[in-house]
C-alpha cells in the first residue's frame, strides 16, 4: 500500500463550486415544504381553545366572586399561568406545542411555559445560578421589548399631550 502510486488512474472530480447564493436557492428547492395551511388550522384550534378556557375562568370569577371584567383579569391570568406551569411540569406542554405551534406559544400560557421550562431545565445548576439566572432566558425579550414599546408610547403621549382623552379605565 505504502508508496503505491494512484497516478495512473487519477480521476479529478469537479470541486463543489456553487456560490452561496446558488447553493441556498438549490437547498431551498430541496426543502420539504411546511404545511402552512395545516399548521394555521391547528394553531387556530388550539389557540382558540385556550382562549375559551380563559373566557371560562374569567366568567367564573365574575359570577362567583362578583367581579367586574377588569377585576377578573388578574386572577384569570394567574390561573392560566398556573395551568401552563402544571402542563410544563408534567412534560406535556412541549408535546402539545409540536402539534399546535403558535396556538400554544402565542397565548400567555406560552409565556409561562417559556419561563417554567427554563427554570426546570436549569435546576441542575442550582437555585441562584441555574434557576434564578436562566428563568428569563426566553421570556426576557418579550418583557424588554414590551417595556420599551410601552415607554415609547408613553413618551409620545406625554410629548403630544394626548394623555387626557385616553380611556385608562378599561
Amino acid at each position: 500500500m505504502a508508496g503505491r502510486d494512484s497516478g495512473s488512474k487519477k480521476t479529478a472530480y469537479k470541486p463543489v463550486s456553487m456560490s452561496p447564493k446558488e447553493y441556498k436557492a438549490f437547498a431551498k428547492s430541496k426543502e420539504p415544504p411546511r404545511s402552512v395551511l395545516k399548521n394555521c388550522l391547528r394553531a387556530f384550534l388550539v389557540g382558540g381553545f385556550i382562549c375559551l378556557i380563559g373566557q371560562g375562568v374569567q366568567n367564573f370569577f365574575m359570577k362567583v366572586f362578583d367581579m367586574t371584567a377588569k377585576d377578573a383579569g388578574n386572577p384569570t391570568v394567574a390561573i392560566m399561568i398556573l395551568l401552563s406551569v402544571i402542563l410544563t411540569s408534567m412534560g406535556v406542554y412541549d408535546k402539545i406545542a409540536q402539534w399546535a405551534g403558535a396556538g400554544s406559544a402565542v397565548p400567555v400560557t406560552g409565556f409561562a411555559n417559556s419561563m417554567s421550562s427554563a427554570a426546570i431545565e436549569h435546576r441542575s445548576e442550582g437555585l441562584v445560578l441555574g434557576v434564578g439566572s436562566n428563568m428569563f432566558k426566553l421570556a426576557g425579550s418579550v418583557i424588554v421589548f414590551g417595556v420599551v414599546a410601552a415607554f415609547i408610547v408613553g413618551i409620545i403621549y406625554w410629548v403630544f399631550g394626548i394623555g387626557a382623552w385616553h380611556d385608562t379605565s378599561g
Partner: protein, 117 residues
C-alpha cells in the same frame, strides 16, 4: 354564549397570525412573541386594543399581545396621575400579577419537578 364564540375566533385568529410569522416569515418564537407584544402596545397606543377586549373578551386578553396592552395601560394611567415620571413608574403596575405569578410558579416548579425531555 356569544362571548365564548368570539373569544375562540379572535384568539384563534391572533394565533394564526403568529403561525404565519413562524412558517412564512420564518421568525423564531422569541422574535414572534416580541413582535406581538410590540404590536399589542402599539394597538393600545392607537386606542384599538381596549375595544377589541370589550368585543372578544379572553380572545384578546389571553394572547401575549395583551401583555403589551397592559404595559401601555400602566404607563398611561401613571402618566395621567403623576405626570411624566409616570411613564417610568407605571409600566409594570397592571402586569404585576402576571409576571409575579409566572416567576413564583416557575420557581416552585423548578423545586418540585425535573425535566422529562
Amino acid at each position: 354564549m356569544m362571548d365564548y364564540v368570539w373569544a375562540f375566533l379572535v384568539g384563534g385568529a391572533i394565533c394564526i397570525f403568529g403561525q404565519l410569522l413562524f412558517d412564512v416569515a420564518k421568525l423564531t418564537p422569541a422574535h414572534t412573541m416580541s413582535l406581538l407584544v410590540v404590536l399589542g402596545a402599539a394597538a393600545d397606543g392607537l386606542g384599538w386594543y381596549d375595544p377589541l377586549i370589550e368585543f372578544a373578551g379572553a380572545g384578546a386578553t389571553v394572547p401575549i399581545t395583551s401583555f403589551g396592552n397592559a404595559l401601555v395601560h400602566g404607563a398611561l394611567t401613571a402618566l395621567k396621575e403623576d405626570g411624566w415620571i409616570g411613564v417610568i413608574t407605571g409600566i409594570f403596575q397592571v402586569t404585576s400579577a402576571g409576571v409575579s405569578a409566572a416567576i413564583v410558579f416557575s420557581f416552585l416548579a423548578a423545586l418540585v419537578v425535573r425535566p422529562k425531555g
